[in-house]
Amino acid sequence: SQTIHQWPATLVQPVGSPLSLECTVEGTSNPNLYWYRQAAGRGLQLLFYSIGIDQISSEVPQNLSASRPQDRQFILSSKKLLLSDSGFYLCAWSVKPYEQYFGPGTRLTVT
């Protein structure tokens, strides 16, 4: 069966510090991978998606970036965090284009 992991589960970082969030998927090959941010328990904002290794599409211009160095690994990064980067970050995978499976999320607080 397929599983998706995200870490860390929670993170508190000062403004201006770097960020690296990691997501890995097991049990499937060549999935589409996604990074979302969710603020205040509301809807999901798609940040990046990837249909293959080193193929990244950015949905929202911001100070975040994403990379996919391996088929089942997706990394979200920032060189300098802003207060507005606080939120709940979710990684998801899909094989069928219309069904996504989410990880447990990372709660990021920028202070």
Partner: protein
């Protein structure tokens, strides 16, 4: 303007009551998904509907896709505290899903 409009945004009812939440759009979709997200966790796929007029049941949850494939509803019978969460509808875009803003449902014991 949101592609998907979910209503109501918030709903708080007593255990045992019935409820319906809605997902509406002016666009036609080939499929629509419903997800439930509990606090502090990722959303979980509940159902996918693909045919206009389709009705799917998942225990006490009934999902319906509109005849014109522009809207959907989720009806919960005899709501329980375990139904509490954020209910999200989503439709397929190019290589990605487009989500509504969700309905936050609270079931009070």
């Amino acid at each position: 303007t949101q592609l998907l409009e979910q209503s109501p945004q918030f709903l708080s009812i007593q255990e045992g009551e019935n409820l319906t939440v809605y997902c509406n759009s002016s666009s036609v979709f080939s499929s629509l998904q419903w997800y439930r997200q509990e606090p502090g966790e990722g959303p979980v796929l509940l159902v996918t509907v693909v045919t206009g007029g389709e009705v799917k049941k998942l225990k006490r949850l009934t999902f319906q896709f509109g005849d014109a494939r522009k809207d959907s509803s989720l009806h919960i019978t005899a709501a329980q505290p375990g139904d509490t969460g954020l209910y999200l509808c989503a439709v397929q875009g190019a290589q990605k899903l487009v989500f509504g803003q969700g309905t936050r449902l609270t079931i009070n014991p």
